[in-house]
Protein backbone atom coordinates (compact mmCIF):
# COMPACT_ATOMS: atom_id res chain seq x y z
CA UNK A 1 0.00 0.00 0.00
CA UNK A 2 1.45 3.28 -1.08
CA UNK A 3 0.39 6.34 0.89
CA UNK A 4 -0.04 8.21 -2.38
CA UNK A 5 -3.11 6.08 -3.12
CA UNK A 6 -4.86 8.04 -0.36
CA UNK A 7 -4.49 11.49 -1.93
CA UNK A 8 -6.95 11.04 -4.82
CA UNK A 9 -9.54 9.78 -2.33
CA UNK A 10 -9.03 12.77 -0.04
CA UNK A 11 -9.43 15.22 -2.92
CA UNK A 12 -12.45 13.34 -4.31
CA UNK A 13 -14.15 13.09 -0.91
CA UNK A 14 -13.77 16.81 -0.19
CA UNK A 15 -15.06 17.90 -3.61
CA UNK A 16 -17.91 15.36 -3.71
CA UNK A 17 -19.13 16.34 -0.23
CA UNK A 18 -19.08 19.98 -1.24
CA UNK A 19 -21.04 19.32 -4.41
CA UNK A 20 -23.47 16.59 -3.35
CA UNK A 21 -23.96 17.28 0.35
CA UNK A 22 -23.10 20.97 0.50
CA UNK A 23 -20.77 20.66 3.49
CA UNK A 24 -17.08 21.30 3.96
CA UNK A 25 -15.23 18.11 4.78
CA UNK A 26 -11.85 18.46 6.52
CA UNK A 27 -9.22 15.79 6.77
CA UNK A 28 -8.36 14.85 10.34
CA UNK A 29 -6.05 11.86 10.82
CA UNK A 30 -4.26 9.41 8.62
CA UNK A 31 -3.52 6.07 10.28
CA UNK A 32 -2.18 2.69 9.16
CA UNK A 33 -4.16 -0.49 9.83
CA UNK A 34 -3.77 -4.18 9.05
CA UNK A 35 -7.14 -4.47 7.32
CA UNK A 36 -9.87 -2.10 6.05
CA UNK A 37 -12.16 -2.78 9.02
CA UNK A 38 -14.59 0.10 9.53
CA UNK A 39 -15.12 1.72 12.92
CA UNK A 40 -18.51 3.38 12.48
CA UNK A 41 -21.99 1.91 12.11
CA UNK A 42 -22.80 2.43 8.41
CA UNK A 43 -20.19 0.97 6.06
CA UNK A 44 -19.98 0.91 2.29
CA UNK A 45 -17.60 -1.57 0.64
CA UNK A 46 -16.35 -1.13 -2.92
CA UNK A 47 -13.94 -3.50 -4.64
CA UNK A 48 -11.35 -2.22 -7.06
CA UNK A 49 -9.62 -4.15 -9.88
CA UNK A 50 -7.57 -3.31 -12.95
CA UNK A 51 -4.50 -1.08 -12.76
CA UNK A 52 -4.80 -1.17 -8.96
CA UNK A 53 -6.62 -3.75 -6.88
CA UNK A 54 -8.05 -3.89 -3.40
CA UNK A 55 -10.94 -2.64 -1.38
CA UNK A 56 -12.21 0.72 -0.20
CA UNK A 57 -14.43 0.80 2.89
CA UNK A 58 -16.29 4.00 3.76
CA UNK A 59 -17.73 4.30 7.24
CA UNK A 60 -19.93 6.83 9.04
CA UNK A 61 -22.56 7.08 11.77
CA UNK A 62 -26.21 6.66 10.90
CA UNK A 63 -26.88 10.35 11.64
CA UNK A 64 -24.29 11.33 9.05
CA UNK A 65 -25.76 8.87 6.54
CA UNK A 66 -29.22 10.38 7.09
CA UNK A 67 -27.85 13.90 6.62
CA UNK A 68 -26.27 12.78 3.34
CA UNK A 69 -29.61 11.34 2.16
CA UNK A 70 -31.41 14.54 3.17
CA UNK A 71 -28.95 16.71 1.25
CA UNK A 72 -29.04 14.51 -1.85
CA UNK A 73 -32.85 14.35 -1.87
CA UNK A 74 -34.23 17.69 -0.70
CA UNK A 75 -37.95 17.70 0.00
CA UNK A 76 -38.29 14.04 1.00
CA UNK A 77 -40.07 13.10 4.22
CA UNK A 78 -38.04 11.58 7.10
CA UNK A 79 -39.64 8.14 6.64
CA UNK A 80 -38.69 8.12 2.96
CA UNK A 81 -35.16 9.33 3.73
CA UNK A 82 -34.62 6.42 6.09
CA UNK A 83 -35.49 4.01 3.27
CA UNK A 84 -33.30 5.84 0.78
CA UNK A 85 -30.33 6.22 3.15
CA UNK A 86 -28.42 3.16 1.90
CA UNK A 87 -28.93 4.19 -1.71
CA UNK A 88 -27.67 7.71 -0.95
CA UNK A 89 -24.49 6.64 0.85
CA UNK A 90 -23.83 3.96 -1.79
CA UNK A 91 -24.01 6.55 -4.51
CA UNK A 92 -21.82 8.97 -2.57
CA UNK A 93 -19.16 6.25 -2.11
CA UNK A 94 -19.51 5.27 -5.76
CA UNK A 95 -18.91 8.86 -6.88
CA UNK A 96 -15.89 9.36 -4.59
CA UNK A 97 -14.35 6.06 -5.74
CA UNK A 98 -15.11 6.92 -9.37
CA UNK A 99 -13.48 10.34 -9.05
CA UNK A 100 -10.39 8.90 -7.32
CA UNK A 101 -10.15 6.23 -10.05
CA UNK A 102 -9.93 8.90 -12.74
CA UNK A 103 -6.72 10.17 -11.11
CA UNK A 104 -5.35 6.71 -10.33
CA UNK A 105 -6.02 5.36 -13.85
CA UNK A 106 -4.28 8.27 -15.59
CA UNK A 107 -4.13 8.32 -19.36
CA UNK A 108 -3.56 4.72 -20.27
CA UNK A 109 -5.06 2.45 -17.62
CA UNK A 110 -8.50 1.26 -16.63
CA UNK A 111 -9.76 0.72 -13.11
CA UNK A 112 -13.01 -1.16 -12.58
CA UNK A 113 -15.04 -0.73 -9.41
CA UNK A 114 -17.76 -3.04 -8.08
CA UNK A 115 -21.25 -1.80 -7.22
CA UNK A 116 -21.24 -0.72 -3.55
CA UNK A 117 -22.35 -3.07 -0.78
CA UNK A 118 -23.75 -1.40 2.36
CA UNK A 119 -23.55 -2.89 5.85
CA UNK A 120 -25.27 -1.42 8.85
CA UNK A 121 -23.89 -2.38 12.26
CA UNK A 122 -23.02 -2.24 15.09
CA UNK A 123 -21.81 -5.65 16.15
CA UNK A 124 -21.26 -6.57 12.57
CA UNK A 125 -18.59 -9.10 11.76
CA UNK A 126 -17.25 -9.42 8.26
CA UNK A 127 -13.94 -10.88 7.17
CA UNK A 128 -12.16 -8.13 5.35
CA UNK A 129 -9.09 -8.63 3.22
CA UNK A 130 -5.90 -8.69 5.25
CA UNK A 131 -4.22 -5.93 3.39
CA UNK A 132 -2.25 -2.97 4.65
CA UNK A 133 -4.71 -0.12 4.90
CA UNK A 134 -4.53 3.63 5.10
CA UNK A 135 -7.43 4.99 7.10
CA UNK A 136 -8.27 8.64 6.50
CA UNK A 137 -10.69 10.31 8.89
CA UNK A 138 -12.66 13.45 8.13
CA UNK A 139 -14.79 15.87 10.10
CA UNK A 140 -17.58 18.11 8.88
CA UNK A 141 -20.56 20.10 10.11
CA UNK A 142 -22.76 16.99 9.88
CA UNK A 143 -20.32 14.65 11.65
CA UNK A 144 -17.38 12.41 10.87
CA UNK A 145 -16.55 9.89 8.17
CA UNK A 146 -13.61 7.63 7.42
CA UNK A 147 -12.24 6.01 4.30
CA UNK A 148 -10.21 2.81 4.61
CA UNK A 149 -8.10 2.29 1.54
CA UNK A 150 -6.49 -1.14 1.06
CA UNK A 151 -4.87 -1.11 -2.32
CA UNK A 152 -1.85 -2.33 -4.26
CA UNK A 153 -0.60 -1.93 -7.82
CA UNK A 154 -1.83 -4.83 -9.94
Amino acid sequence: MKAEFANPFITAAVSTFQKEVGVKLSRKDLTLKKAPVPSQSVSIVIGVTGAVRGQVVYSMDENVALSVAKAMLPGKLPAELKKLMTSAVSELANIITGQASITLAGENNIIEITPPAVFIGPGLSIDFLTMKTVCVSFISGIGSMEINIAMVDA
Binding site: M72, L84, A88, E91, I95, G98, N109, P115
Partner: protein, 121 residues
Amino acid sequence: MASGKKGLIVDDATVMRIRLKDILTPQYTIVAEAENGVQALEMYEKFKPDFVTMDISMAEMNGMDALGEILRRFPDAKIVMVSAMGQKLQVYEALGKGAKDFIIKPFDPARVKKAVDRLFE
Protein backbone atom coordinates in the same frame (compact mmCIF):
# COMPACT_ATOMS: atom_id res chain seq x y z
CA MET B 1 -43.26 22.53 -21.62
CA ALA B 2 -43.69 18.85 -22.39
CA SER B 3 -41.70 17.76 -25.43
CA GLY B 4 -43.54 14.48 -25.93
CA LYS B 5 -40.19 12.65 -25.85
CA LYS B 6 -39.93 9.48 -23.77
CA GLY B 7 -36.92 8.56 -21.66
CA LEU B 8 -35.51 5.47 -19.94
CA ILE B 9 -33.33 6.00 -16.86
CA VAL B 10 -30.76 3.29 -16.08
CA ASP B 11 -28.92 3.48 -12.74
CA ASP B 12 -28.46 1.01 -9.90
CA ALA B 13 -28.96 3.73 -7.25
CA THR B 14 -32.57 4.67 -6.45
CA VAL B 15 -31.34 8.09 -5.34
CA MET B 16 -29.87 8.80 -8.77
CA ARG B 17 -32.98 7.62 -10.61
CA ILE B 18 -35.12 9.95 -8.49
CA ARG B 19 -32.80 12.89 -9.14
CA LEU B 20 -32.51 12.29 -12.88
CA LYS B 21 -36.28 11.96 -13.14
CA ASP B 22 -36.74 15.25 -11.24
CA ILE B 23 -34.32 17.02 -13.57
CA LEU B 24 -35.88 15.72 -16.78
CA THR B 25 -39.58 15.98 -15.99
CA PRO B 26 -41.96 17.54 -16.94
CA GLN B 27 -40.22 18.36 -20.21
CA TYR B 28 -39.58 14.67 -20.85
CA THR B 29 -41.72 11.71 -19.84
CA ILE B 30 -39.78 8.98 -18.06
CA VAL B 31 -41.54 5.83 -19.25
CA ALA B 32 -39.33 3.34 -17.42
CA GLU B 33 -36.41 2.87 -15.04
CA ALA B 34 -33.89 0.05 -14.90
CA GLU B 35 -31.27 -0.83 -12.31
CA ASN B 36 -28.96 -2.95 -14.45
CA GLY B 37 -28.08 -3.63 -18.08
CA VAL B 38 -30.35 -6.66 -18.43
CA GLN B 39 -33.40 -4.68 -17.29
CA ALA B 40 -32.31 -1.79 -19.53
CA LEU B 41 -32.51 -4.05 -22.60
CA GLU B 42 -35.92 -5.36 -21.58
CA MET B 43 -37.26 -1.87 -20.98
CA TYR B 44 -35.79 -0.54 -24.19
CA GLU B 45 -37.50 -3.27 -26.22
CA LYS B 46 -40.78 -2.79 -24.42
CA PHE B 47 -41.00 1.02 -24.48
CA LYS B 48 -38.76 2.03 -27.43
CA PRO B 49 -37.84 5.30 -25.66
CA ASP B 50 -36.55 8.36 -27.51
CA PHE B 51 -33.50 8.53 -25.23
CA VAL B 52 -31.68 6.68 -22.44
CA THR B 53 -29.49 7.86 -19.54
CA MET B 54 -27.04 5.04 -18.77
CA ASP B 55 -24.97 4.41 -15.64
CA ILE B 56 -21.88 2.18 -16.02
CA SER B 57 -21.04 0.42 -12.76
CA MET B 58 -24.00 -1.96 -12.21
CA ALA B 59 -24.46 -5.63 -11.33
CA GLU B 60 -25.89 -7.97 -14.03
CA MET B 61 -24.54 -6.42 -17.21
CA ASN B 62 -22.83 -3.08 -16.78
CA GLY B 63 -23.76 0.04 -18.69
CA MET B 64 -20.91 -0.22 -21.18
CA ASP B 65 -22.13 -3.64 -22.33
CA ALA B 66 -25.77 -2.51 -22.30
CA LEU B 67 -24.81 0.48 -24.45
CA GLY B 68 -23.24 -1.82 -27.05
CA GLU B 69 -26.12 -4.29 -26.95
CA ILE B 70 -28.89 -1.68 -27.30
CA LEU B 71 -27.09 -0.02 -30.21
CA ARG B 72 -26.49 -3.37 -31.89
CA ARG B 73 -30.23 -4.06 -31.88
CA PHE B 74 -31.40 -0.46 -32.28
CA PRO B 75 -28.73 1.51 -34.16
CA ASP B 76 -30.70 4.76 -33.84
CA ALA B 77 -30.89 4.64 -30.02
CA LYS B 78 -29.88 7.89 -28.33
CA ILE B 79 -27.89 7.06 -25.22
CA VAL B 80 -26.24 9.51 -22.81
CA MET B 81 -23.83 8.02 -20.28
CA VAL B 82 -24.23 9.37 -16.71
CA SER B 83 -21.64 7.67 -14.56
CA ALA B 84 -19.18 8.02 -11.71
CA MET B 85 -16.73 6.14 -13.93
CA GLY B 86 -15.09 8.75 -16.11
CA GLN B 87 -11.59 7.49 -16.82
CA LYS B 88 -10.25 8.64 -20.15
CA LEU B 89 -10.30 5.20 -21.77
CA GLN B 90 -13.86 4.61 -20.56
CA VAL B 91 -15.07 7.89 -22.05
CA TYR B 92 -13.37 7.00 -25.36
CA GLU B 93 -14.86 3.49 -25.30
CA ALA B 94 -18.41 4.74 -24.70
CA LEU B 95 -18.24 7.46 -27.34
CA GLY B 96 -16.57 5.00 -29.72
CA LYS B 97 -19.45 2.58 -29.24
CA GLY B 98 -21.94 5.29 -30.10
CA ALA B 99 -22.94 7.07 -26.87
CA LYS B 100 -24.09 10.62 -27.66
CA ASP B 101 -22.58 12.21 -24.57
CA PHE B 102 -20.73 11.31 -21.38
CA ILE B 103 -21.55 13.02 -18.08
CA ILE B 104 -19.37 12.31 -15.07
CA LYS B 105 -20.94 12.31 -11.59
CA PRO B 106 -21.20 14.44 -9.53
CA PHE B 107 -23.17 16.24 -12.20
CA ASP B 108 -24.64 19.66 -12.60
CA PRO B 109 -28.41 19.28 -13.24
CA ALA B 110 -28.27 21.87 -16.04
CA ARG B 111 -25.58 19.82 -17.80
CA VAL B 112 -27.80 16.73 -17.78
CA LYS B 113 -30.78 18.66 -19.09
CA LYS B 114 -28.72 20.24 -21.84
CA ALA B 115 -27.26 16.89 -22.95
CA VAL B 116 -30.77 15.49 -23.43
CA ASP B 117 -32.09 18.68 -25.07
CA ARG B 118 -29.26 18.52 -27.59
CA LEU B 119 -30.34 15.05 -28.73
CA PHE B 120 -33.46 16.55 -30.25
CA GLU B 121 -32.15 19.77 -31.75
